[in-house]
Amino acid sequence: MTDIVRILIAKPGLDGHDRGAKYIARALKENGYEVIYTGLRQTPESIVKTAIQEDVNYIGLSLLSGAHNELFPQVIDLLKKNEADDIVVFGGGVIPEDDIASLMEKGVKAIFTPGTSIKEVISFIENNEKKNK
């Protein structure tokens, strides 16, 4: 039997909109993944600690406040510091096209903006899992 994939869906920053995060959590559950949801207003530190304790394979960051250029790279750096940069980070929310390239450069593996179909997210994870085998 193969291991069940575990995914942390986390909301860094101060915005209070988690409909997107909940939607994605539910969709991932329906595709057979175990989703850990932490709720609103998490610091990069608490997100990384949670990811390590929960031994997740992925972290999905949802952010609508505009602080993605600061907070997403902080999560990546903290993962490196904790020797946990094998955990794949993807992001979603209100993220301008212009910011995507630099976030990807810093180590975010995928960015999903509003209007993305859930299939895209699932196939990103599935393809990544195939690569790992």
């Binding site: 291991d3 530190e45 929960e54 031994d55």
Partner: protein
């Protein structure tokens, strides 16, 4: 054993990896557990159970706060159900405990039930051993939101807090067999809600029906409001006293012995079944057996008894 040694040192990432190893039932699981086993037995294990929405996670959050003040290292295993359709899960218990996310001496692990039905996961028992060996003083198991018969937490915990809330029916519900019998301490949460005092009276009445005159042996009932952080100190004092009592009276030792008996039975049965399955090639033959029962009207007991007789005969010849 590298992973085992790191767990013994309390290395957070390794504890996480070790629990995943158990959850996914990887081949190295047995060796890992047996490596850590000699270092187990120091931690106290509390089970927290009750219906969905009773406030278990919020209560656990408040208990962690108290135990951290006393300097204890706390490990939490919070179980939520897996989907019977996709196998996926949403694990949301730690949402109420994220205050402790930056505290290195609090380790929260969410666990999906993965098809296990007793209110916990198959991996819960071994995950407790990981925390125990890693030096956690207190381990709290929060079950899935339970109904009337998901009572397996009593086989893993030194003591069980049964969390009840007002509005769940009359005293006949409290009189029924199953979940209502497994509490060592009865916690009536949401005491600020209507009906809490009535529930208290009902539970007290039901417990008094079959309990001894000896005050010590009575199961305490504590009123709390986890949300408002009220009654929590009473609860902590109560289970501390209870621990002292069960330690002094060998009750704890008996409980732990019984736990080992259950564990032996469980591992033994599982191994025997998998051996027999392999020996009889049941997976290959099961369709034929179904045909026998469906079309030839062979009774299931007759069929199985015959197969078992055959198995014993072949086994002896080997």
């Amino acid at each position: 054993m590298e992973l085992g040694d790191k767990v013994l040192k309390g290395h957070i990432r390794s504890i996480g990896k070790a629990i995943s190893c158990i959850e996914n039932n990887r081949p190295e699981k047995e060796q890992l557990i047996d490596y850590l086993y000699p270092f187990c037995g120091k931690a106290e294990v509390i089970g927290v159970t009750g219906s969905p929405g009773a406030g278990k996670s919020t209560l656990v959050d408040k208990l962690i706060k108290r135990e951290r003040k006393l300097g204890k290292k706390v490990g939490i295993i919070a179980v939520d159900p897996s989907s019977p359709f996709s196998g996926g899960a949403i694990l949301g218990d730690r949402l109420r405990m994220q205050n402790h996310a930056s505290d290195d001496d609090v380790y929260i692990r969410s666990m999906a039930s993965r098809g296990h039905l007793g209110g916990i996961a198959t991996a819960t028992a071994d995950a407790i051993k990981i925390f125990d060996a890693a030096g956690f003083d207190l381990i709290i198991i929060e079950t899935i939101g339970v109904g009337q018969t998901e009572i397996e937490v009593m086989d893993l915990a030194d003591l069980v807090l049964l969390v009840l809330v007002p509005g769940m029916g009359d005293e006949i519900q409290a009189l029924k067999a199953g979940i209502m019998e497994i509490g060592d301490i009865y916690v009536i949460n949401k005491k600020d809600h209507d009906g809490a005092q009535k529930l208290y009276a009902e539970v007290e009445y039901v417990l008094n029906i079959n309990q001894s005159e000896n005050d010590k042996e009575k199961n305490p009932i504590i009123l709390t409001s986890a949300n408002l952080d009220e009654g929590i100190d009473d609860l902590v004092k109560c289970y501390r006293d209870y621990f002292k009592y069960i330690r002094c009276n060998n009750i704890l030792e008996e409980k732990r012995k019984k736990r080992i008996v259950n564990e032996i039975n469980h591992i033994f049965t599982e191994k025997i079944i998998s051996e027999v399955n392999q020996f009889l090639h049941i997976e290959k033959k099961i369709n034929q057996w179904v045909k026998n029962i469906l079309h030839e009207k062979v009774g299931p007991y007759t069929l199985i008894n015959k197969k078992i007789e055959q198995f014993i005969k072949e086994f002896k010849e080997q």
